[in-house]
C-alpha cells in the first residue's frame, strides 16, 4: 500500500509545469555547455597562450569537465528543487532506472559512464590525437555519449564513449602539442647507408616543423632487409597538426639530396617483388 502511495506521489509531481521547468533547466545546462565549449575553443587557439607556457590542449581539457558539471548540476536541480523527490521516491526512481537499463538502456549507460571515466582518468583530452574504435584523428569533443574525432581527411567520426571498455585507446601526444613522427625511407641495399643516414638526419633537424629539446630528442636508425635498406628517422613535430607536412618536408628534401648524391631507391619495389613471388 505504501509503495502505491509513493508511485502516486511520483506521478503527482510530474505535471506539465515541472516538465517545462525541467526542460528549461536542461536547455540551460546544454546552452551553458555549448557556450563554454565555444569560448574555450576560441581561446585555446590564441597563439599567445604559448608565451605563458600554456597550450590549446591545457585550455580544452577544461571543456568536458565543465560540460559534465553543468549537466549534473542541472540534473541535481531538477531532482532536488523542481521535482522535490523524497528519499523513498528516489529509491523507486532508481529501481525504475535499473529496469530501464535491463531493457536496453545499458548501451547508453555504458557510454555515459565511459564519458565520466574519460574525464576522471583522462586517457585522452580534447585536442589530443588518438586512435579509438579503429579511427585515427584529433579529438574535437567529449560528450555525454560520444567522443567526436576529426580524421586527417576531415571526416567527423563519433565514437561511443563505451568503446573504451572494449577497445584500447592509443594517444599519440597525451596532452602535449608535440608529437613523435616516424619517417621511413627505403634505399638500394648497395648504397652508402651511412651517407643516407647523415642526409636524413640533416633533413630532419633542418625541417621548419621540428621540435628539438631535451624532452624531444631525435634519432636515425637503419635496418638491413634482403632487397633494400630501411632508414628510419624519429623526431618530434612542433605541433601534431604538422604531422603530415613535417613528414612530407623531410621526405622530399631527403630524396632530393639522395638523388644528388647517388643514393637510389631499391631496384625492385617491395610490391613488385611480392607480385613476382605470388606468381
Amino acid at each position: 500500500m505504501a509503495s502505491v502511495d509513493v508511485i502516486s506521489g511520483l506521478f503527482q509531481i510530474i505535471n506539465p509545469p515541472t516538465i517545462l521547468s525541467s526542460l528549461a533547466v536542461l536547455l540551460l545546462a546544454y546552452a551553458a555547455g555549448r557556450i563554454t565549449t565555444y569560448v574555450l575553443t576560441g581561446l585555446s587557439e590564441w597563439n599567445v597562450l604559448n608565451v605563458f607556457g600554456l597550450n590549446r590542449i591545457t585550455v580544452k581539457m577544461m571543456i568536458p569537465l565543465l560540460k559534465f558539471t553543468f549537466y549534473f548540476a542541472g540534473l541535481y536541480y531538477i531532482l532536488a528543487a523542481i521535482l522535490n523527490i523524497a528519499s523513498d521516491q528516489l529509491v523507486l526512481f532508481s529501481g525504475l532506472f535499473g529496469a530501464g537499463l535491463g531493457f536496453g538502456l545499458q548501451g547508453l549507460f555504458a557510454d555515459v559512464v565511459g564519458g565520466l571515466l574519460t574525464i576522471m582518468e583522462r586517457p585522452y583530452q580534447i585536442g589530443d590525437k588518438i586512435t579509438m574504435g579503429g579511427h585515427y584523428g584529433e579529438v574535437k569533443d567529449i560528450g555525454l555519449r560520444v567522443t567526436r574525432l576529426v580524421t586527417p581527411d576531415d571526416t567527423l567520426v563519433s565514437v561511443p564513449n563505451g568503446s573504451i571498455f572494449q577497445n584500447p585507446v592509443a594517444n599519440v601526444n597525451a596532452g602535449n602539442l608535440e608529437m613523435m613522427v616516424m619517417i621511413d625511407l627505403f634505399v638500394d641495399p648497395n648504397c652508402d647507408a651511412i651517407l643516407a643516414m647523415n642526409i636524413l638526419k640533416e633533413a630532419l633537424v633542418t625541417s621548419k616543423y621540428i621540435r628539438l629539446s631535451e624532452k624531444h630528442p631525435h634519432v636515425i636508425l637503419m635496418k638491413d632487409f634482403p632487397f633494400y635498406k630501411r632508414i628510419r628517422a624519429k623526431g618530434y613535430a612542433n605541433d601534431f597538426r604538422y604531422e603530415f607536412i613535417f613528414e612530407t618536408d623531410v621526405t622530399t628534401r631527403a630524396w632530393q639530396e639522395f638523388r644528388r648524391r647517388g643514393i637510389m631507391p631499391p631496384k625492385i619495389g617491395v610490391a613488385e617483388k611480392g607480385i613476382l613471388n605470388g606468381k
Partner: protein, 354 residues
Amino acid sequence: MASLQCIIRENGDSPELFGFENILKDIVDAIERPDLDSKSNIAIIAEPFSGRSELLYKISELYRERDTKIFFRRLVNDDNFMETLEKSGDIVLVDNCQDLFSRKIGGFEKLDVFLNTVASSNKLFITTWNQFSWNYLRFMYPLETIFPVRIELPRLGPVELKKMVMANCEWQMTFAEDVVTKNVPCFEFSEFPLVLPIIKKTFSVLIPRIDYFALKCHFQAKIWPTKQKDATSVEDRVFQRLKDVSEGNPGVAQAIWKRSIHSVEGAIKPEDIIKPQYKIDINYGQAYLLYIILCMECIGIEELKGIDPNANVNRSVYDLERNGLISVENGLLSIVPEALHSIESYLKSMRLVW
C-alpha cells in the same frame, strides 16, 4: 647593425663597455687560470644587439701581446677560415659562430670541422654565439662539453644605459617631468569581432586594453606623489623607462633612444621614450624565415632561399619589411633592433622559439 659594429672595430676603434665589467673579469680569470693543461674554451651567448662583439674586441685588446686574432663575421665566412685559424696564437677569438652553419642539408660541414678543431686543439677558444642559434645547435652537438665555460651577457640596468647614452651624446640633454601623464588613459577599449556560430552573425565586443606604463604613472603619482619625486630624479626615470622598454639590451636601447628623441624638442620626458608597437600578421612559413634571420642576425636573400627553397622568399621578405620587422641593406637582411623583443614574443607564440 651587428656587421656595422664589427667593421668599426676592425678599423681599430676601441669600444667602451658598459655593465660588462664582471663578465670581463670572469673571462680574464678563465684565461689566466694556472692549470692551463685543462683549458676551458669559452662561449659567450647572448641575443642580438647585446654587445657580444664589443666584449670580444675588448678581450683581444687585453691579450694583444699573446698574438691573439679575432675572427669577425667577414673572416668566419671566408673559405680559408680554418687555415687562418690554425696560424693564430694560443688564444683564438671567434665572433658570431652562428655563421659557421646554415640550416639546410649540407649546411653543417664548416661547423663540424670547427668544433672538431676546437675539441682537439691546445689553443684557448673564446667564441660568441647568437642565443637562438646556440639553443638550436646544443641539441645536435655537445656544445656544453666543447665549451665548458658559458657566459650569458647580463641585461643592462638604467645606470649603465645612462652611461652608454651619455657617452654617445654630443649635445647637452635636459629632462622634464611628464606633463600629460594624468590625461593618458590607463584603460582603452577596442572592438573585437565576435562571430556567433549557427546564426553566423558578427558582433563587436569591447575588449579592455591596459596601458601598464600609464597605469604605473598614475599609481605612482597618486599613491606616492612626493616619495616618487624625492626618490628618483626625472633623469633617472627617463633611463628607467628606457631600461623597461628595451629590456636592458644595449643595441635595442640605443635604437629606441634615437627613435624616441628624434622628434623631441627641448627637454626629454619619461613619456617620450616610446616602445614601438608591432602588429605582426604573418604565416608560419614567414615566421620561420623571421626565425632564421633572428638566429643568423645578418643573412643574404640568396642564402635564405637555399634554406627554404619551397618558400616564396622575395614576397616574405617584402611582408616582413612592410611589417617593420627586418631591414634590407645591400641584399642582407637583419632584424630591426626595436622589434627584437616583439619578434621574440611572437616566435614564442608560434612555438618557433622556446
